[in-house]
């Protein structure tokens, strides 16, 4: 790819409405912090017990459910504020 095409693409990355950028920045950091706290002791220790929830080990459910929730939220905010959220890459 030539240099010009690439430079244009960098420019294209900025089609995000700048007003949304600070929202995304806050969310990005919040999700990271939430994950970092949830996936490490001491919070993890709370769920570290030989109990079952819906027939599944409590710690297993806790880790995967939280993991899934973080991914869901990240998906919701990642393309936030794109002027053409679905175009043209799809």
């Amino acid at each position: 790819m030539t240099d010009q095409r690439r430079d244009r693409r960098i420019g294209k990355d900025d089609d995000r409405d700048p007003r949304h950028e600070s929202r995304i920045r806050e969310w990005s950091f919040t999700l990271f912090l939430a994950g970092a706290i949830a996936f490490t002791p001491p919070l993890m220790m709370v769920f570290d017990r030989p109990a079952m929830l819906f027939g599944l080990p409590l710690l297993y459910v806790y880790l995967f459910a939280l993991w899934g929730a973080l991914i869901f939220l990240a998906a919701r905010i990642a393309s936030h504020g794109r002027r053409h959220p679905r175009a043209p890459e799809d």
């Binding site: 790819m1 240099d3 960098i10 990271f32 490490t40």
Partner: protein, 924 residues
């Protein structure tokens, strides 16, 4: 059915399919209908090259022993992707703006395009990643051997060793190097992007996911009635129930350690950097990868624990290696096709990693290790060669073959003795050494090359000592005593308990020491060293990327002289002449420039050429090459800082503003002082007028009174009349003298005095003054002692004024002598550059606080309302004016009660002590 030949055929068919996909991807790219340009999902899937056979086989093995301990390796990357806005997005934009081709290039670019740093990173990467590559080969070989025994399930360790030629690992290594050479180094491209390879890797990610999930579904829903049933069965077995909590794990410290290591790995592993940064064609794709890649990780991990539990339930007593459960479970259930699918999935996990890692490493070895060295060997005359593309390709291809062969050798001689996870963590810890230099590099502007070099080399040294050497010892290459007793039996140096630090697992222990030395070296080194100019430029480009993203970075930093033709030649040698011409023409068109062949290239064009080159051979080499044609220098730091960014300009403005406001404050203070001084002067003027009026009125009053007496009494005695007339005459003289003095002083102060400055003999003037005052001393019976050399050198002065000063001082002294023994001493000394005249009396002296005041107008020592004024109060101020005008100095020494000593100096004729600088030079 699962004969050796059949499995081999399937393997080759699969690899053949990969070749076809990669070929198709490349073909579409050259046709301009890129497969990946508009597909963020392919980008996200290619990042899933993170999941290697370690994930595929090793996670289950780990889960079977340590329960949930396999998870942090995937939680860490998820966390990093959640933080994408700060890290990945930033790194991506920096890399795109600077044409970064590898992680070594990134670090070397950030720290002033340092070749030494790029080389160091490359060495660390190669040494650190080799075990990882060997791990993939080992996994393929093991799975092949296990599958070959179908339907028997045998632990691979009990099998006889396969000769090298029939060794599948070796064949795979050869095939993968062929793939990497074909699709990784087919041609030299300015962007270092390999679309075919990316598409193939994304396809492999799908295959391994499908295969692994298929096994998961099979054990959960085929062998059991879903998750609940499987977990319930496990919970009934106390040995298995331990795996459902952290009880069986290696503990929380290692959990945290592995999270941190994997966070570093997802950024710093060369292959991850390759797929997520270098191969990225559109930064917007990150939007999808942010959630799709973590989702991929989640899905592939959901079934790890179920498969492990299922395996343990099926093969109690550990007769089967847990690393092979994924494969042996379908085998023991006689699911031929599933087993084959699993094998292919494992193959794809391994080959994907090997391909990307070898391409990434070969780029680094070529651009950051070999080329800089070759370019510096001037006798090779490489910089003058016509076409270097062939050389570049040869180096890269050689590097790929070398990396894979070394990986194979490592597997043959060392790798056999470790589990998959142990080897993988070794590599993770090595890659983590880059994290401080990268993260520090994009946030901390002051980080220096020296700091990065110190941190990396110290961290790497500690990695070798706490992880690599012990792993050699465990494989029997070193004596076991190295671990148990330390080198030479020194307990403090035990590699797993360094400096007596015990109680940590080996991994946390290693992470602590490597990071302590790495970050410590990095920070300390950066703090004590200074950045060179190129370092400062690069640091600003990297740290302030959000300000520079749109424009042409570095455009203004070259001030070189090169013709357009030179640049086309230079770039053409690396990317082909036609392509170079086109690129430069495109660039010129975009900027509406007309380019003549021999015209001088402007700095922006030189920068463009440099960046294009950097995309091929790395930033450090590109700069060396460019120096051969553009005899430029980087512009001065002040200019750079000014041009560079708005922040420093803003800072500059605010600094100036502060300076101005400080200056303003100072000016205000000065004004206030001046105002006070003015008020003081005003008061003094009032005082002066009051005093002058008073001084004038005194003689006038007596003249008038005596005049009236004479007028009113015409019949006064003649003696009486004469006495009164004498008084009138004396008072008139005093009045005249007073007015003369006031006029003199006013003229002097206003600078309107006419001076007759000449080189005169001071002795004559002083003698005249002594003669004029002689009657004064004789009349009052004062003893005057005079000490003066017989001859005095010439001085530069006004003769009459000099006499006036001496007379003034002598008459003053005569007035103030007291007591029965009235003495005045007069002395003249010759000193270097000046003569000093001293007049001393034995009067009451002058108090300390009055020594300056007496030189002011109408101020007399010991003045009090009752004292009768002994003079006009203008003599000393006039003396000071005169002496100062001569360039000399007048001052008084006195001990109250012991008389006063007046000194003044007059500069010698021709000496430098003229009036210009004479005021301050007289000796104290």
């Amino acid at each position: 059915m699962l004969q050796g030949w059949f499995i081999l055929t399937v393997s080759f068919a699969y690899v053949g399919l990969l070749f076809a996909i990669a070929y198709y991807g490349d073909k579409r790219a050259t046709e301009g209908r890129s497969l990946i340009a508009n597909s963020p999902s392919i980008y996200a899937l290619s990042i899933a090259v993170y999941c290697t056979s370690w994930t595929y086989y090793g996670s289950v093995g780990r889960a079977a022993v340590n329960g949930l301990d396999f998870l942090p390796i995937y939680l860490g990357p998820t966390l990093v992707f959640l933080l994408w806005w700060f890290l990945l997005r930033r790194i991506l934009r920096i890399s795109k703006a600077n044409h970064i081709t590898s992680i070594a290039d990134f670090i070397s670019s950030r720290y002033g395009k340092s070749t030494m740093l790029g080389g160091l990173v490359t060495v660390i990467a190669v040494v650190g990643i080799l075990p990882y590559i060997s791990l993939q080969l080992k996994a393929v070989a093991t799975s092949f051997t296990v599958l070959l025994q179908y339907p028997d399930v045998v632990t691979p360790r009990t099998l006889p060793e396969v000769p090298v030629v029939g060794d599948l690992a070796f064949l795979i290594a050869l095939l993968m190097s062929a793939f990497a050479i074909l699709f990784g180094t087919r041609h030299i491209d300015a962007s270092e992007q390999h679309e075919g390879m990316v598409v193939a890797v994304a396809f492999e990610s799908l295959v391994k996911l499908v295969a692994f999930v298929a096994v998961g579904l099979f054990v959960t829903y085929g062998l059991r009635d879903g998750f609940g049933d499987l977990f319930a069965a496990a919970a009934r077995d106390p040995d298995l129930a331990r795996l459902l909590t952290m009880e069986a794990s290696s503990g929380y410290p290692q959990w945290v350690t592995m999270t941190i290591l994997s966070m570093a790995a997802i950024l710093c592993l060369p292959r991850q950097f390759q797929v997520s940064v270098v191969e990225n064609v559109n930064p917007r794709h990150l939007d999808r990868a942010v959630w799709l890649f973590p989702l991929y990780l989640l899905v592939i991990n959901v079934f790890v624990l179920p498969i492990a539990l299922s395996g343990l339930l099926h093969f109690p007593g550990g007769q089967v290696d847990a690393d092979t459960f994924v494969l042996t479970l379908p085998m023991v259930e006689r699911q031929e096709w599933l087993a084959l699918l699993v094998f292919v999935g494992g193959l794809s996990a391994a080959t994907g990693m090997v391909i990307v890692a070898s391409i990434a490493l070969s780029t680094m070895i070529c651009n950051d290790l070999v080329m800089p060295i070759l370019l510096r060997m001037t006798w090779l005359r490489l910089t003058e060669r016509e076409d270097l593309t062939g050389l570049l390709l040869a180096i890269r291809r050689g590097a790929i073959v070398m990396v894979l062969l070394l990986g194979y050798l490592y597997y043959r001689f060392i790798g056999e003795s470790h589990t998959l996870v142990t080897i993988g963590l070794l590599s993770f810890a090595a890659a983590a050494q880059f994290a401080p230099a990268i993260i520090g590099g994009i946030f901390w502007r002051g980080a220096t090359r020296i700091g990065a070099l110190a941190g990396l080399s110290l961290g790497f040294a500690m990695w070798i000592y706490t992880l690599l050497l012990p792993s050699f010892a465990l494989s029997g290459w070193l004596s076991e005593a190295f671990i148990a007793e330390g080198p030479l039996g020194i307990g403090l140096l035990k590699p797993y308990e360094l400096f007596g630090l015990d109680g940590l697992d080996y991994l946390s222990h290693a992470l602590f020491w490597t990071m302590l030395f790495n970050i410590g070296g990095y920070v300390l080194g950066s703090v004590v060293s200074r950045q060179s100019v190129p370092e400062q430029v690069q640091a600003a480009l990297f740290v302030d990327i959000h300000r520079h993203a749109g424009d042409q970075p570095g455009a203004t930093f070259w001030r070189g002289t090169a013709t357009v033709d030179d640049l086309v030649d230079l770039v053409g040698r690396f990317v082909g002449r036609e392509q170079a011409k086109r690129a430069i023409a495109d660039h010129a068109q975009q900027r509406n420039l007309k380019i003549g062949r021999n015209r001088e290239a402007d700095p922006a064009l030189i920068s463009f050429a440099e960046r294009t080159l950097a995309g091929v051979i790395g930033a450090a080499s590109a700069r060396i090459m460019l120096h051969t044609v553009a005899q430029g220098e980087v512009v001065g730091i002040d200019e750079v800082m000014q041009i560079l960014d708005e922040t420093s300009q803003l800072l500059e403005y605010s600094r100036q503003l502060e300076q101005k406001s400080r200056a303003l404050e100072a000016a205000t203070a000065e004004l206030r002082a001046a105002n006070e001084r003015l008020q003081e002067l005003d008061r003094m003027k009032d005082d002066f007028i009051a005093t002058v009026s008073h001084e004038l009125r005194t003689p006038l009053t007596s003249i008038r009174s005596f005049g009236e007496i004479l007028a009113d009494n015409p019949d006064l005695e003649p003696e009486e009349r004469d006495r009164f007339l004498a008084v009138i005459i004396r008072e008139s003289e005093r009045l005249t003298r007073l007015i003369n003095e006031i006029l003199d002083l006013a003229r002097m102060e206003a600078g309107r005095m006419t001076w007759e400055m000449a080189d005169i003999d001071p002795k004559a003037a002083i003698d005249e003054a002594l003669a004029a005052t002689a009657s004064l001393f004789a009349g009052d019976d004062i003893q005057l002692s005079t000490r003066m050399p017989d001859a005095l050198p010439l001085v530069h002065a006004d003769r009459d004024r000099l006499i006036q000063v001496v007379v003034n001082l002598l008459s003053n002294a005569a007035k103030f002598t007291r007591g029965p023994d009235r003495r005045v001493e007069f002395e003249v000394r010759v000193e270097p550059g000046a003569i000093t005249v001293t007049v001393a009396d034995n009067g009451p002296g002058i108090a300390w606080g009055e020594r300056e005041r007496i030189f002011e107008k109408f101020q007399q020592a010991g003045e009090s309302p009752t004292d009768k004024p002994a003079g006009t109060g203008l003599g000393l101020p006039i003396c000071r004016q005169i002496v100062t005008h001569f360039g000399g100095r007048i001052w008084v020494e006195s001990n109250p009660g012991n008389g006063a000593k007046f000194h003044f100096t007059v500069p010698l004729a021709g000496s430098k002590g003229g009036r210009a600088d004479g005021t301050g030079r007289a000796a104290e």
